[in-house]
């Protein structure tokens, strides 16, 4: 079934798969009704889905170089869109985003704009041209377009730095979910997550990752959307919450004015012993703040995320797998459509969750209720028990105020179904979805790094005569080494999930955006210019991060460009350096100019001919 006409059978195969998954969901629902414990259901959800991904990974094993690196360039447009969406939407998108919106309001939603708008840049400036180029990895493009191993090496450096920053957060997320659902310590959860991730990619490289990512997309999108529609229906918020929550958004603004958005002092929170990582509502839900600085903070964050999107190698390399240039371009549109389905739902989940918790007219509300009553609620007890929620009666009136209820952002996605009174089976589904989101992104990232180490560093720089068997062995070895290193760092829990994720975008845009884009759009761009662009961008960006980073030198940001936005500095320096040095050095030779002409038209053979 996975041989020969496999690609023609895709709609049927994934149709059966989706049906099977829904059947499994209903079976679990019945099991819950018949007294199977909540813990058992969580374990079944996780093991069942991971077993399927692993099965797909094993069935997609290959010893063919083109299949290993670019899935044989036979992934149909729409399926590549789904795989990219899974590749893209990380554990942070799935678990942390709705919580971020819940607490950060309008300002936080710059992430939504940034993480979708970047695809316009991908489709217009890069994806079709890189597909025509025919490279296996992103540094492969830099190395061939500009020539020379040093340029290739600089690209590898940026890629590894950006992807590694990103992947530790993903493995961290798989560890958190696995430990919670399976009831094992976090450290053990990280290694369970890593083994699951490697099972999907080791044997079949890009080919295996592609088909598991499609499967993971289906699970994660069902797991995200189904609870939202269910909650909305059950709470009488309308059939299609995306279009019916206007009055709830207005009601939240009214309640905010009524309660008052009180800010707690750090000292008061410390004295009360609020656990780290917990937040309380102190920002308006839907109101854009006043002032030029506030607008600039929104826009600068969106710019970083957009430009970073267009520079992240694990995303760009997904478009190397389509049959031709036209389908690569169209596939970007499908990717964004599939991503859109989740991203335009996240603010609705945040709104539903907030109205249920803070509106005294809702039976589910806790704000404005006597604290001893709230403490007796089952889900409140559970989350306080695991230090994910906390209550302090600052004004000693015995009533819970907005600024007295502390909760971790992740709880919005994880607990809202419980708050709304949905059966536990939904929480199992959500755990499976979060796991799928984190695993699929981790797989894409680890593969991007391992591929560039085996293809660019080993094959192109160290041993160009290596045979296929050796190259693929090195590629797999790279996967394991990078995976273990990432899991080891993740198990040390260095930074919160989102800080690290934003940094990956900033690193990628600092070093890679202009060398990639100008490589296609500016014939005059030279090798020296590209090297200057990559190094100057990376060094200045990193220096700025150290300068403003709260855990480093912690200096006052310049023009509000804080540690989440350091890519603005890096990319600007990169552009200037690249243009100045390119103009100061000799024009690229005729062969290079011809190469650029070739990638600008879809027809004809790819520029790189792989042996």
């Amino acid at each position: 079934m996975f041989k020969g006409k496999f690609v023609d059978n895709l709609p049927k195969i994934y149709g059966f798969y989706t049906g099977g998954f829904l059947l499994f969901f209903f079976a679990m629902m019945i099991a819950e009704k018949n007294g199977v414990s909540a813990k058992m259901i969580g374990i079944l959800f996780l093991t069942f889905t991971i077993a399927i991904y692993a099965l797909i990974g094993v069935l997609s094993r290959t010893m063919n170089v083109s299949e290993y690196y670019v899935s044989g360039r036979e992934v149909p447009t729409v399926f590549n869109g789904m795989a990219t969406a899974a590749d893209w939407m990380s554990g942070a998108s799935f678990v942390a985003m709705a919580g971020g919106i819940y607490y950060g309001g309008y300002t936080y939603m710059a992430f939504l704009v940034g993480w979708t708008g970047g695809y316009v840049l991908v489709s217009t400036l890069l994806a079709p041209y890189l597909r025509k180029f025919g490279c296996y990895t992103v540094p492969d493009f830099i190395g061939t377009r500009y020539g020379g191993n040093f340029a290739r090496f600089c690209a590898v450096l940026v890629l590894v730095l950006a992807s590694f920053t990103y992947v530790t957060a993903q493995i961290n997320a798989t560890g958190t979910i696995a430990s919670r659902a399976l009831g094992i310590p976090f450290g053990a959860g990280v290694w369970v997550g890593l083994i699951s991730i490697l099972l999907c990619s080791m044997l079949g490289g890009m080919r295996a990752v592609t088909w598991t990512q499609v499967a993971q997309y289906i699970v994660l999108i069902i797991a995200y959307l189904l609870p939202i529609f269910w909650i909305s229906l059950r709470g009488d918020f309308g059939l299609f919450p995306h279009f019916t929550l206007g009055s709830e958004v207005a009601r939240i603004a009214e309640l905010e004015a009524q309660y008052g958005l009180v800010k707690n002092t750090a000292a008061a929170m410390k004295a009360a012993g609020v656990p780290g990582g917990l937040s309380y509502i102190s920002t308006p839900h839907a109101t854009a703040p006043e002032g030029a600085m506030a607008a600039w903070k929104f826009i600068s964050l969106a710019i970083c995320m957009m430009v970073g999107t267009a520079s992240l190698p694990h995303i760009l390399m997904r478009y190397f797998t389509t049959p031709n240039v036209t389908s690569a371009r169209r596939s970007v549109a499908w990717s964004l459509f599939f991503i859109f389905l989740l991203y335009f739902s996240a603010p609705m989940l945040a709104t539903l969750s907030k109205i249920m918790l803070i509106d005294p007219n809702q039976a589910t509300s806790i704000i404005g209720k006597p604290i001893d009553q709230v403490m007796a609620i089952e889900w409140v007890k559970n989350w306080i028990g695991v230090k994910q929620a906390f209550i302090v009666d600052f004004n000693n009136d015995g009533i819970l105020q907005l600024n007295e209820w502390f909760m971790r952002g992740d709880v919005v996605v994880l607990a809202t179904p419980e708050v709304a009174g949905l059966p536990y089976v939904v929480s199992g589904l959500v755990a499976a979805g979060g796991m799928a989101a984190a695993m699929s992104t981790a797989d894409g990232l680890i593969l991007a790094m391992a591929n560039c180490i085996s293809h660019d560093v080993y094959y192109k720089m160290i041993d160009p005569k290596a045979d296929v068997k050796k190259r693929l062995l090195i590629a797999r070895l790279g996967l394991v080494i990078i995976g273990v290193a990432a899991a080891y760092i993740a198990s040390m829990r260095l930074t919160s999930i989102l800080g690290a994720v934003a940094w990956a975008f900033d690193f990628a845009m600092s070093g890679l955006f202009f060398p990639l884009v100008l490589g296609v759009w500016w014939k005059r761009a030279t090798r020296q210019g590209a090297i200057a662009g990559m190094l100057a961008g990376l060094i200045s960006g990193t220096w700025y991060l150290i300068y403003v980073g709260p855990t480093f030198m912690n200096q006052t940001p310049w023009l509000g460009i804080d540690n989440l936005r350091f890519g603005i500095i890096g990319a600007s320096v990169s552009l200037v350096a690249m243009v100045v040095v390119s103009l100061a050095t000799e024009e690229p030779d005729a062969a290079t100019q011809k190469m650029v002409d070739d990638i600008r038209i879809p027809s004809g053979r790819t520029v790189i001919k792989h042996t």
Partner: protein
């Protein structure tokens, strides 16, 4: 392939790129320069404040439509200059 033909194709492509990026710039940046001013504007029928609506749904949907539209336009340009690689059976 004649150079003039390539140039004509690339000029059309650049023109489309400029239009696409101008629309992208509008929906990702220009609108949010006026976030505060758009608070008081209500989206008809839905009832969300416009600034909230744009970052929660509006701009996101605009990007999806924009990419589908501009891919279609680029395919037309490729066809017109005879450099398309799309197979007739492609979806």
């Amino acid at each position: 392939m004649a150079t003039s033909k390539l140039e004509a194709h690339w000029n059309d492509t650049k023109g489309l790129m400029r239009i696409t990026l101008a629309l992208w710039f509008f929906f990702s940046i220009v609108i949010f320069m006026f976030g505060y001013q758009l608070n008081s504007v209500n989206v008809p029928l839905l009832g969300y404040p416009l600034s909230y609506y744009m970052c929660a749904q509006g701009s996101l949907a605009a990007f999806v439509i924009l990419i589908f539209w501009s891919s279609g336009k680029q395919e037309e340009i490729d066809m017109k200059h005879g450099v398309s690689d799309a197979e007739k059976t492609e979806d």
